[in-house]
Symmetry: C2
Subunit: 393 residues, 2 copies
Amino acid sequence: MGQITDTNASWIAQQLPALGIDLFWVSGVGDNEPRLTEVLRRAFDRSDLVICTGGLGPTEDDVTRECIAAMLGEDIVPSAELEATLRAYFAGRGAEMPRRNLRQATLTASTEALPNPLGTAPGWWSERAGHVLVAMPGVPHEMHRMWEMEVVPRLRRRLGGDVIYSRILKVVGWGESAVEERIRHLIGGTNPTVGTYAKDDGIHLRLTAKCPTLEEARRLVDALDQRMRDELGNNIYGVDAERMEGVVGRLLREQGLTVAVMESCTGGLLTSTLTDQPGSSAYVRGGVVSYATEVKAELGVPLEVLRQHGAVSPETALAMASAARRQLGASVGLAVTGVAGPEEQEGKPVGTLHIATDVQGRLAATSQQTRGTREVIKRRATLAAMDFLRRQL
Amino acid sequence: MGQITDTNASWIAQQLPALGIDLFWVSGVGDNEPRLTEVLRRAFDRSDLVICTGGLGPTEDDVTRECIAAMLGEDIVPSAELEATLRAYFAGRGAEMPRRNLRQATLTASTEALPNPLGTAPGWWSERAGHVLVAMPGVPHEMHRMWEMEVVPRLRRRLGGDVIYSRILKVVGWGESAVEERIRHLIGGTNPTVGTYAKDDGIHLRLTAKCPTLEEARRLVDALDQRMRDELGNNIYGVDAERMEGVVGRLLREQGLTVAVMESCTGGLLTSTLTDQPGSSAYVRGGVVSYATEVKAELGVPLEVLRQHGAVSPETALAMASAARRQLGASVGLAVTGVAGPEEQEGKPVGTLHIATDVQGRLAATSQQTRGTREVIKRRATLAAMDFLRRQL
């Protein structure tokens, strides 16, 4: 019925390049035994590896186990070992195991169970004539853990002795083609390989090496990482799971600083993003959304500056940063003003941005022109403001 | 490579129930001619209707047209009419049409073009032996328009004289099972039908009727809509595309009021969401994110209240609403304080929420306990705060 968008398929697709596995087909099918069995049979025939998620629950509408058994032509048999694990799982939560969960303590002759400490559905790893089918729970966090802890090690063993090591560098300040232009001579190698991806939080560069040992793979990636940094410098702001709000938060903590925000066109999104970081209450004093021009004045932006330069100006951004710092008693003030649209303001076009910081009295400002819908502009302005503060710190 | 999650499939899946079309299979495949042709052939053989998106661009890697032609066993022929339309599209943008775009001005013998005023790729509607294949561009906004303006009318004509009319009622304040409990006796009919969906902005009820005329269908939906309102009352906050920030904005405008926010656990998300509404600068004065307790005091929350009741309390929420209203010169103050986690605060558990409003001096407050990750709690607190203001207005 379309209520659920399948994000498991794209998550798994992202994991495959690092293993050197090519993805050819994605299939979606309902909990219907004949249709699901047919889809599984075709997949198992045409592919070395079939990965499926979902349909391993305890209720009658979960039929993936039955369809895999039908596809393999094998019987489903109870497993005393799985039943014991499942009973322990329920006991650990102070509950009796419902009878229907016995359906989850079963296997077939060609099937090995994959442990799932986060839920009741073990995975299934089925092998036949060199083809492998892996069935995992559909709940994303259960599936992610099972993939990393159980499936990837088994796949690595099958793929031979080589180890794959991969690192993501996050780049901000330039678009995808500008980044590719700068690193053109570093792309195109086969080991390590480089993939570039445009994301909401900048351009991601994925460096991947495949070697007999982890140490060698890491050394290849380290060397390429260094050459990327020579080209892109401080535009590389983070590695792997690091987020911009986490990087800014770390810099503030390291320097013993606190921050206060005054924002207009971002409407609260800048402060909200800074506080998405767990533990941010240690350094975020708070923020002010000065949406109306008079509110800027009431909160400490000199009327003179507003009258002379307008609400959307570098001068006002600077005055906002200082007002935020002073009013909220922080060591750092961060401000953004601009035009989010859909209409222009003070004759300034949609996408105009002015960003300023006041770091213990040291003032700095930058201006940018961006494009997009209201939501896109809010998001880009938020990233640009955090990035400007990062550079000042 | 998994950089893109397919949201087109779930969007289309959501449109099909209202047309009475059952969805059996979803397939994903890369821009590879043999594999794509094979997937299209199987789909066309087994289904009355095949809907595909993507691969209609002007470059060499866009091969959907070639694969459809191969599947039908037909030649691709240039269309002078499509070429004229395409040249007019580029001329309207003051640009010359690149030669490669000629690939988009083609058809086959069994194929009719579907206009696309938003882009360069016309859709393809191909019919053979009672089976239909519809190919649309992958860019979501181009696809959505083509679906609504071109595909749905053609499908309706094929499906017979009946007209389908559908309406979504958005419900807040109760969970999905509580809502279903209340309207159990109204669900299960065949005309109109009712679907319930749990969404980020509450529970959606989709009422759908199928009748010989639009008037009759609308009358059936109107009658059921009224019975839903008898059961759910003011918990129904919006219809179809209406969003909570739009409903609150409309109420404020109608009553000539302006609003100012003071928020802590939502960290700016409440003000940001209110300002997502285009035109919100007419009634949103601004907001204060009083993340640190001392900031609450600096911005007008009496120290006495904070000392006696703590930062997370109904009393502080009320004082925050009044301080926001007074400090930012608004007619309405809206406040939320609570614990977003991951750690408890002042001995109050994660998920504690206190919301308050000050509507021209009239004070009101409510408290809730919710669950989830930091992000989920921020989002739920934001929805709950906007909903409480809606009820006060």
